[in-house]
Amino acid sequence: MKTNGPLLLVALSLMTCSAFAQVDLSGEWSNLTHEDVNHRQSVEIGDYTGLPINEAARFKAESWDEAVLATHERQCIPHVVTYAMRGQPGNIRISKIDDPDTGQIIAYTIHGTYGRPRTIWMDGRAHPSEYAPHTWSGFSTGKWEGNALVVTTTHIKMGWIMRNGVPTSDQATMTEHFIRHDRHLLDVIVINDPSISPSHSFGLRTGDSISPENRMHTVPAVLLKLPTRYRIRSEDMFPTICPAPIHTYGTFLRNVECRLKRLLVDPRLHIRNTC
């Protein structure tokens, strides 16, 4: 009996590790933008291709004038979180904050986005009161669902999802799935905003961990309408990198749509869509 004690302890430890071991997202991640960089960062006014926005959002976007950014009160605004994860050109650093007593991760922080630094609380705390102020980065909480870190962000300031005036309101909720596959990190962004959209808008953002050569890789990111019947299954979220540069936006969209169909599962049919 005596000899079984340490074995049992080791077994329990392994099980514990296995049960609670999550994918490590921390580190430095390079941003992959150039394939759709024009659409992501310099989209023309009036180009709302694929966005499930309602008439109000379209009207507001069409009324938008970039000169507004020159007004005194807007000269220091950062990108709001609904755009910051997609639009930023540089690299990001994801760090873990752990409880010094228990060692458990209580938060992730993300620095280097196109907006303000983000904190993703992992300690089960609730979101603040509806009367609490909103910020550019919002208030984020995360929880693991399988291999995906699901991050819910509320308390976001009024902002935008495109650089051509397509708005988001302060009623928006942003849900992200961070999924890591080896050196690839995928951030699937769903924005639910009752003020601007009868449906969801949908975005993809991927990044590669920085290789020794510090290379930047190609990967598309675009907003597309996501039919509500689809659900995202984290194990299906492998970012298939399109092999060749996309020279036209139309081709680009078709490729991304193809990728999305691969990634999505129709829960009613219990089969994967094929492309």
Partner: protein, 317 residues
């Protein structure tokens, strides 16, 4: 039990501090109870009792900005008592609207004026001092023999004319600013200079378009001027976030960026309606053209504001 519902301000996220300094309760509290939110410095927000109520606490006692709806007066008083047992010294009303002055009578009666001078012990009588612009007193009172819109016990005891009044309470200067006719002809902004908080009354709302009562001296252009005055008072921290915090008449705590968004919306709507009037469009035609449709999903029914703006702009005020 004191229930704090999160806090304003946006500290750096380089350390694991909440962007909102929120505590970590297990469940989000969405009950119908009046919520207490620390705003900044000595100032707290009481939300859920009609219009927003700001509470400033300190050694002198309690200063309230607005008192909510009358039926909730006792609840408001009990909630204020969770913050401080000191006497209520001042009540400041930002306008004469019922959801702002409804608790005046009960809350003033529960307080005690600040006194001084030759009065021993600084005692100057029962009841808190109720401070408001002269327009509020006019709206709440009536000449002898005519019915008033509010009982006399709820009226301002200290009504100021002109465009400003200064108070000093709880170790900070409190500036009352009358930005001219805005929603009504008696609006006040209240600026807590040390806590760095502006309480706006209904000139700025996070839940609706401005409700402009032109018949009582309100002005669409005046609301716009009032919003610009708020922006003049506020100074943001870095990244145009935080800094001077703003308590609107209704809805969540805000900062300058939120006021700017609202001001720009009002400006855009004014320009659209003005343009339509120049084209000779009637009020019905303007309404049918829906010049506010990009904001209606956020702020609700624009009818009253559109009518007020049309009436004012079309007569060239």
């Amino acid at each position: 039990m004191l229930k704090l519902q999160g806090k304003a301000g946006t500290p750096s996220t380089s350390r694991p501090a909440s962007p909102l300094n929120a505590p970590a309760p297990k469940e989000r509290d969405r009950t119908d109870e009046i919520q207490i939110l620390p705003v900044q410095g000595n100032v707290y927000l009481l939300a859920g009792a009609g219009a927003n109520i700001a509470v400033q606490i300190g050694d002198d006692g309690i200063l309230l900005v607005d008192t909510g709806s009358a039926p909730l007066s006792d609840k408001v008083l009990a909630t204020v008592r969770q913050l401080s047992n000191k006497p209520i010294r001042y009540i400041v009303n930002t306008s004469a609207r019922q959801d702002h002055i409804g608790g005046n009578e009960v809350l003033a009666k529960a307080g005690t004026k600040m006194g001084g001078g030759i009065l021993v012990g600084g005692y100057a009588g029962d009841g808190a001092m109720v401070v408001a612009h002269l327009g509020v007193l006019k709206a709440m009172s009536a000449p002898t023999g005519k019915p008033a819109s509010a009982p006399s016990a709820a009226w301002p005891t200290d009504a100021y004319p002109g465009d400003s009044k200064e108070l000093y309470a709880n170790a900070e200067g409190v500036e009352l600013v009358h930005p001219g006719a805005a929603n009504t002809d008696g609006d006040s902004l209240v600026y807590f200079r040390r806590s760095d908080v502006v309480v706006t009354g209904d000139i700025f709302s996070m839940t609706s378009y401005p409700v402009i009562d032109i018949d009582k001296g309100g002005s669409f252009t005046g609301v716009l001027a009032g919003l610009n005055r708020i922006i003049d008072l506020t100074i943001p921290k870095d990244w145009q976030e935080g800094g001077t915090m703003v308590i609107p008449g209704h809805g969540r705590i805000a900062d300058e960026a939120d006021v700017v968004e609202y001001r720009d919306m009002i400006t855009i709507i004014r320009d659209r309606i003005q343009d339509m009037i120049r084209k000779g469009m009637s009020l019905e035609q303007v309404k049918a053209a829906r010049p506010t449709r990009d904001y209606d999903g956020r702020y609700g029914d624009p009818t009253l504001m559109t009518e007020a703006a049309y009436r004012e702009i079309s007569r060239g005020r």
